[in-house]
């Protein structure tokens, strides 16, 4: 049972449930307490110990059902096999527990021994460590080799060449059964792999974090969203913390007393609880013009998630002019919001000068000395006037101006890119075309450091 539970913990870990050593110990303790008899109790207990969020609970349930279903199948198989074994006591292998050769088993059609040999071989080649579906063929072959398929093939060949009629028929028989064994091995590997099914997620996430946003496959978009949301959510947690206690100080009794013990307890020096906490106020300007179209989706998604995270975020989208999208992002789901914004501005050619001018005319009040302005754009002005002066005024007015450019540094300033002209008026300018960049930005913006979740740890 210990091995089974350990196996399950491993599977649960792969399914994205964080199972630390402490939790493994808890799981064992819990089961030692409630016993293994009742499936539902076991499930409830393990669920209580292992799953930490509703999402993890869902994964746990799926994982548990799948794992212990397979286990049950195997157990049932073994049970029926051992029944089949009972009458055949005279068989030589049951004396010392070693199994006869594959050939012998197949000739006798001894299914019980066959299954036992299969599992023993699977254990011998360490099937449990299979990770990727590309390894399936390899593992199946190694299991077959461990079962002694090479010897079997040799025997079959020998029988064929012997020319005896009876031998040839036996060879035919054996070949049929050999194919069945192959199927069995393949099936076993696939079942094990299904348990591992979610394992590649971590690998995939790592890949997605570093993939260029423009190159992300359609099928990965969903997963990207989860990752983006994750980044924004972590932001939210920390933002939620830094926002507290921003009010005026209270009398700090404890501190005051301590200070005034020397003065006979007469409150001579008064201490106040004053924690000055900075509230990052964000204004985000997102370029959704044609040249940015492939990226705009992700940028908007990021802004949308940020919006969920930060109470006082104002978001603007621009192409040839600027519109405020704070409310659209707040009220609508990301799909609807993106559609609305793209319908309004999408695929127009960008006019940075005009857009900045719009922003300065209508919304400059949104920017004050506490505001961080983030501009997401490629600075491709289509040879229009970049209006560097507007950006300079913005730069002087805000606390920090961050420019995130999806183009690589070498492309900055080439052709119609005004990036180099804007550069002097940015407190920070960096390349941003991977999820990891967004993550770093999030961290830099709020000045937080936070360990990455286990799934994306490198």
């Amino acid at each position: 049972m210990k091995a089974t539970l350990l196996g399950f913990l491993e599977v649960a870990r792969n399914a994205g449930i964080s199972v630390s050593n402490a939790e493994s110990i808890d799981a064992f303790n819990a089961l030692a307490l409630v016993g293994y008899d009742d499936r539902l109790t076991v499930k409830d207990s393990l669920g209580l110990v292992l799953a930490k969020t509703a999402e993890e609970r869902r994964r746990f349930d799926a994982c548990f059902d799948r794992y212990f279903d397979v286990g049950k199948l195997d157990a049932a198989q073994r049970a029926s096999d051992s029944e089949a074994l009972e009458p055949a006591e005279s068989r030589p292998e049951s004396e010392d527990g070693t199994l006869p050769s594959l050939e012998r088993i197949l000739l006798d059609d001894d299914r019980a021994s066959l299954v036992r040999l299969l599992y023993a071989s699977a254990a011998a080649v360490d099937l449990a460590s299979i990770r990727l579906f590309t390894q399936a063929g390899f593992y199946a072959r190694r299991i077959l080799e461990a079962m002694g398929i090479v010897g079997l093939e040799a025997s079959i060949a020998r029988m064929r060449s012997s020319g005896v009629a009876g031998e040839a028929r036996t060879a035919d028989d054996l070949e049929l059964r050999r194919d069945a064994v192959r199927e069995l091995a393949k099936d076993l590997v696939e079942r094990r792999l299904a348990l591992r099914g979610e394992e590649p997620q971590g690998v995939r996430d790592r890949f997605l974090l570093d993939a260029r946003l423009t190159n992300v496959d359609r099928r990965d978009v969903e997963r990207m969203r989860v990752l983006v949301r994750d980044i924004a959510r972590r932001l939210a947690i920390h933002h939620g913390r830094t926002r507290k206690h921003a009010r005026r100080g209270h009398l700090d009794m404890r501190h005051t007393m301590r200070r005034n013990v020397a003065y006979d307890g007469v409150a001579f020096k008064i201490a106040w609880k004053k924690r000055k906490i900075e509230k990052p106020r964000l204004v985000v300007l997102c370029d959704v013009s044609g040249s940015m179209a492939s990226l705009a989706h992700f940028l908007l998604l990021f802004v949308h998630c940020l919006n969920e995270a930060l109470a006082d975020l104002r978001a603007f989208a621009f192409a040839n002019r600027t519109i405020e999208v704070t409310e659209i992002l707040r009220d609508d789901s990301i799909d609807v919001a993106t559609k609305k914004i793209m319908a309004e501005l999408g695929f127009r050619s960008s006019d940075y000068g005009r857009s900045f001018e719009d922003f300065e005319n209508d919304w400059i009040d949104a920017v004050d000395r506490k505001t961080t302005v983030v501009i997401l754009g490629d600075a491709r002005t289509n040879y229009g006037d970049p209006r560097v002066d507007v950006l300079r005024r913005l730069f002087e007015r805000c606390k920090r101006l961050v420019w995130l450019n999806p183009e690589n540094r070498v492309a900055w300033g080439a052709d119609d890119s005004a990036m180099l002209r804007y550069l002097p008026y940015c407190h920070m300018a960096s390349v941003c075309n991977r999820l990891r960049h967004l993550e770093r930005l999030a961290t830099d913006l709020l000045g937080i450091t936070q360990p990455r979740p286990a799934s994306v740890e490198l």
């Binding site: 303790n29 947690i237 913390r241 009794m253």
Partner: protein
């Protein structure tokens, strides 16, 4: 101990039965959680929508185990002086005054400054000692002779820093007071934390807890709950009203009615001597179930369908 009332939960069934005796009907998972929490000495983190009985679970557990319930309501800005301990400043002040008087008397006799100093050193320093310690809920829970049920309500409302204080309390059942040192629990309390998920709790805290999620109960469980909490309500009415609430929850509402609302409503119906759910009467009492105008309107529009034969949809699951 000779007190037979001091229940030790022997099995999950015993916990469920015991909680039921305290008037709390729960599903098996909740009972398992309490059972495990008791025996593994781990805190339980209870999550779920408002009004499904998260706080009640703690109260019922305290009643069942016959232990005092110590409650710590969390809020924005809760700090250790409110949750853990505080010094009794007034008494500390008086103490220094007394000390001063006493010493001026006795020091008069000592000849040199050196002598006076050694005299002063010889007196035990009790300025920061347990005598001047005002225990707040967390410390008080640790000091209970027989143990306690410690309810930390709405832990998600407290700051992240506060979680750090909780960590020591919840994993080692001790509190470290800088001036004194660690104060360990006499008997580890059974800690129950509730959260409405307004923010994500820290990993460290989550890892230390059993994680129980209580959702809206199914019709059968809810009927049992109503049966226990609102005795005297007639069987068919109970069935109908639970069915109605269950169907109401399936609408897209801002805040679906919780168990506590169902109980309130059932009480109101009992008080109004209602025998059958009539549209007009339901419409008038809908504000007991729904707390938002927009929800009441939405439900009002669908009222005929919601009230239509409760058997049509079958018992909700």
């Amino acid at each position: 101990m000779d007190a037979p009332s001091l229940a030790v939960p022997g099995s999950i069934e015993a916990v469920a039965a015991g909680l039921a005796r305290s008037g709390y009907i729960c599903d098996r998972r909740s009972a398992t959680a309490i059972y495990l929490a008791y025996h593994l000495r781990k805190p339980v983190l209870v999550e779920g929508p408002a009004g499904v009985g998260k706080t009640e679970l703690a109260k019922a557990t305290a009643a069942y185990l016959d232990l005092p319930l110590i409650r710590l309501q969390c809020y924005d800005g809760l700090d250790e002086s409110k949750a853990l301990y505080e010094w009794k400043y007034g008494k500390q002040l008086l103490y220094t005054q007394i000390l001063k008087d006493k010493f001026t008397q006795s020091l008069r006799s000592s000849a040199t400054l050196q002598e006076a100093l050694s005299e002063l050193q010889s007196v035990g320093d009790i300025f920061f000692s347990e005598q001047f310690l005002e225990a707040r809920p967390l410390l008080r829970a640790l000091q209970q002779e027989r143990g306690a049920v410690l309810l930390i309500d709405e832990v998600d409302k407290a700051d992240q820093e506060f979680e750090a204080f909780l960590l020591e309390v919840l994993s080692d059942y001790q509190v470290t007071i800088p001036e004194i040192g660690p104060v360990a629990a006499v008997v580890p309390p059974l800690a129950i934390l509730t959260s409405n998920n307004t923010r994500d709790l820290g990993e460290a805290l989550k890892r230390r807890c059993l994680h129980l999620r209580i959702d809206y109960p199914d019709a059968k469980l809810e009927e049992q709950i109503i049966d226990v909490r609102v005795p005297g309500i007639e069987g068919t009415l109970r069935e109908h009203l639970v069915g109605f609430v269950q169907r109401l929850r399936r609408l897209e509402l801002k805040k679906p009615p919780s168990v506590s609302e169902t109980i309130d409503w059932a009480r109101a119906l009992l008080l109004l001597n209602v025998v059958e759910l009539e549209p007009e009467m339901v419409r008038q009492t809908l504000n007991l179930l729904l707390k938002y105008e927009i929800d009441i309107e939405a439900a009002g529009r669908q009222l005929p369908a919601l009230l239509a034969s409760p058997h049509r949809n079958g018992p909700a699951t």
